[in-house]
């Protein structure tokens, strides 16, 4: 596998009326081509903002930290995403090498333009296809994602399609430009389980066929277990754990990941009590000092957690967690 993207020290703040909010705090990770990385966390953990930063798709009041470095490795050399300024340059990442699919496909399609016209439009912007070629490819893509009667669907509007169908059309549209990286932001959350299973299958087929990298944002650890190769867990803008899907789900190293798993209802033991993580996620205006999770952590190690920001240490090969429990220098504490 070859490296697809390197994210180093990504920090992102927003200037708001109530003060400066840190949405993403010193996040670093890499993704290989063909890798599916699950990005997990509660609402407000900064997962969507992190993913959107990869294509600098953030509102005007966003301020990137000076140490932020995002490098996209394309066939014709690396691209420094942070240095892209004009709309023209931005096309390299937005809809070009990186595509984005959203949670709510009804809100992502323009209601008064047919599905087909929207697919063709983006192909004309990002590729050198003629309108006829663009139409042919679009219909082919609709067919590939399992939409029957693609010719008819091409001329239809978003409201004429069911939820599962719209999400398939969204995926077809996102893939038709052959992106190297697909960001899927809660793509199955609004769908029924049976349709979710179909969409997950489809996405797996796509990875094996196109060999692209996928960042799969979801709060559903079950979906992650079924789709991802690696998992990154975020809390309040910080990455707290990162590793292979088996390691993170079977041997969660960070207390937050353990808390998420304990709160999850599973069918293996329906009598097991559901254990919520105590307290609410703090407001981004009142970020705790030290470890951001220390106010809710059940394994807190005294004052150190409230003072010192934990750095990443290896729990095992390719499995790291940012928690003082795993500090190599602290030894047995």
């Amino acid at each position: 596998m070859s490296r697809l993207i390197d994210v180093e020290n990504l920090t992102l703040q927003f200037d708001t009326d109530e003060g400066r909010i840190t949405a993403v705090d010193d996040v670093s990770f890499s993704l290989e081509a063909g890798e599916v990385m699950g990005l997990v966390g509660e609402s407000g953990s900064g997962k969507s903002v992190t993913a959107k930063s990869l294509m600098k798709l953030n509102p005007r009041n966003a301020i990137y930290g000076p140490a932020t470095n995002i490098t996209l490795h394309l066939d014709d050399g690396p691209v420094d995403v942070m240095s892209l300024q004009t709309d023209h340059d931005m096309k390299i990442v937005r809809g070009g090498s990186i595509s984005l699919i959203f949670q709510e496909p009804m809100a992502s399609f323009a209601p008064a333009i047919s599905i087909g016209d929207q697919m063709v439009e983006q192909l004309l912007i990002h590729t050198s296809f003629s309108p006829t070629q663009a139409k042919e490819l679009s219909i082919e893509m609709l067919d590939r994602v399992g939409i029957s009667d693609a010719n008819t669907r091409f001329g239809q509007y978003a409201f004429e399609l069911s939820g599962g169908m719209r999400q398939r059309a969204m995926i077809a549209m996102a893939l038709s430009t052959k992106p190297r990286l697909l960001i899927a932001d809660e793509p199955t959350t609004a769908l029924d389980v049976t349709i979710q299973a179909q969409v997950i299958d489809l996405m797996k087929d796509i990875v094996s066929e196109f060999g692209m990298g996928i960042i799969f944002i979801t709060h559903d650890l079950g979906v992650i277990a079924q789709t991802a190769d690696t998992v990154a867990v975020m809390y309040l803008g910080r990455l707290v754990e990162h590793g292979s899907v088996r390691d993170v789900i079977r041997r969660p190293a960070h207390p937050y990941t353990r808390g998420l798993l304990a709160a999850l209802p599973t069918l293996d033991d329906i009598d097991a009590p559901l254990t919520p993580i105590p307290g609410d996620i703090p407001s981004p205006l009142e970020r705790p000092s030290g470890c951001v999770y220390n106010t809710r952590c059940q394994e807190v190690l005294g004052r150190r957690c409230a003072r010192e920001v934990p750095t990443f240490s290896n729990v095992s090969a390719d499995h790291t967690a940012a928690c003082h429990l795993h500090d190599s220098e602290s030894g047995s504490l």
Partner: protein, 331 residues
């Protein structure tokens, strides 16, 4: 024990706006559903979008029209037949049966304080005699939902999703209901908050002796909180059973497919799920025979012409499938 609430052959039909020719098409949102909910039960209702579970819940609150059949309510104090309920009785029923909504962001008025939101049902239904009594009642119910006096003075925007849902719960409980319909009440919440709200609902149910109809598309949640489950598909009840029986031995192919589609937490289970093809048909144009036949992997000719009726498959376990016996022998 006498059921608290009973749906008897309940149907809810809506007429769509007609075309130029012919009669207006009819949406059979709920068709011939019979269920009994025992007092003190946490009754789960599951199914995909479009299965009619919300409509059934609303009909049991008299918030959807009852086209055929009836809903009977008997809490030991009053007996109501919801099909023909007078104005006065309906008002009294509103006090006894309440709804908790899905979206805690849309359900609360941003211009009212939490105190006013919770007090509104008391004031609208004139259940209290003085402002002091209202405040007393609001504080009492808020405390049960883990909201303090300080919270009552604020506006909803100051609260997180979980706190807002606790406000919605307090409002539903303030009139002292016996029967609560919780429609996807935890679907919009993060897992940790979801666990918290579910635990709260269970605790309140036991403490106040409430009966819940818990509508959800999430079978893992239903498995953990409900004692009895009914599965709906295209307006019909396809299976109903005590929770343990339903999850250990699902009889209907649709229930089996739903269970199998839940993503497992074990990464090595990949690809083991039994996949259901296609989507739920439109209720304006349902298929003949068994409504599930278009997606059922076991459908035979009989399923395409004759609609199966619910039959007993165990203690309190009913299933509507022509082939359930054959299928359960096979497994």
């Amino acid at each position: 024990m006498k059921p608290l609430i009973t749906a008897q052959g309940l149907s809810v039909h809506y007429a769509l706006r007609g075309g130029l020719i012919g009669p207006a098409p009819l949406v059979r949102a709920v068709e011939n559903v019979t269920i009994e909910i025992a007092p003190g039960s946490f009754f789960g209702l599951v199914g995909e979008s479009g299965s009619g579970k919300t409509t059934l819940g609303r009909a049991m609150l008299r918030a959807a029209p009852i086209s055929k059949g009836n809903v009977l309510f008997d809490d030991g104090e009053v007996e109501y037949s919801l099909k023909n309920l007078g104005k006065k009785d309906l008002k009294d029923y509103r006090k006894r049966a309440q709804l908790i909504f899905q979206d805690p962001y849309a359900a609360l008025s941003p211009r009212m304080t939490v105190r006013d939101i919770i007090a509104e049902p008391l004031e609208v239904m004139r259940l209290t005699k003085s402002r002091a009594e209202t405040d007393e009642r609001v504080r009492e119910i808020a405390a049960k939902c883990r909201l303090n006096v300080e919270h009552l003075r604020r506006f909803p925007h100051a609260f997180s999703g979980g706190q807002r849902q606790r406000i919605s719960i307090a409002r539903a409980l303030v009139s002292g209901p016996k029967f609560i319909v919780a429609d996807e009440s935890v679907a919009a919440l993060d897992v940790s908050i979801q666990a918290d709200v579910l635990n709260l609902l269970k605790a309140i149910q036991e403490e106040m002796g409430l009966t819940f109809l818990f509508i959800s598309h999430d079978l893992s949640v239903v498995a953990h909180v409900c004692d009895h489950v009914a599965v709906m598909y295209l307006g019909r009840l396809v299976e109903t059973a005590p929770t343990r029986a339903l999850f250990s031995a699902p009889r209907h192919p649709y229930t089996q497919a739903l269970l199998s589609a839940i993503p497992s937490l074990d990464p090595d289970d990949r690809g083991k799920a039994q996949k259901l093809e296609g989507e739920i048909p439109s209720p304006t144009n349902p298929p003949p025979g068994c409504k599930f036949q278009t997606r059922c992997p076991h459908a035979i000719d009989r399923c395409r012409v004759e609609e199966p009726i619910l039959e007993a498959a165990g203690t309190q376990h009913n299933v509507a499938c022509h082939k359930w016996q054959e299928l359960s022998r096979r497994s």
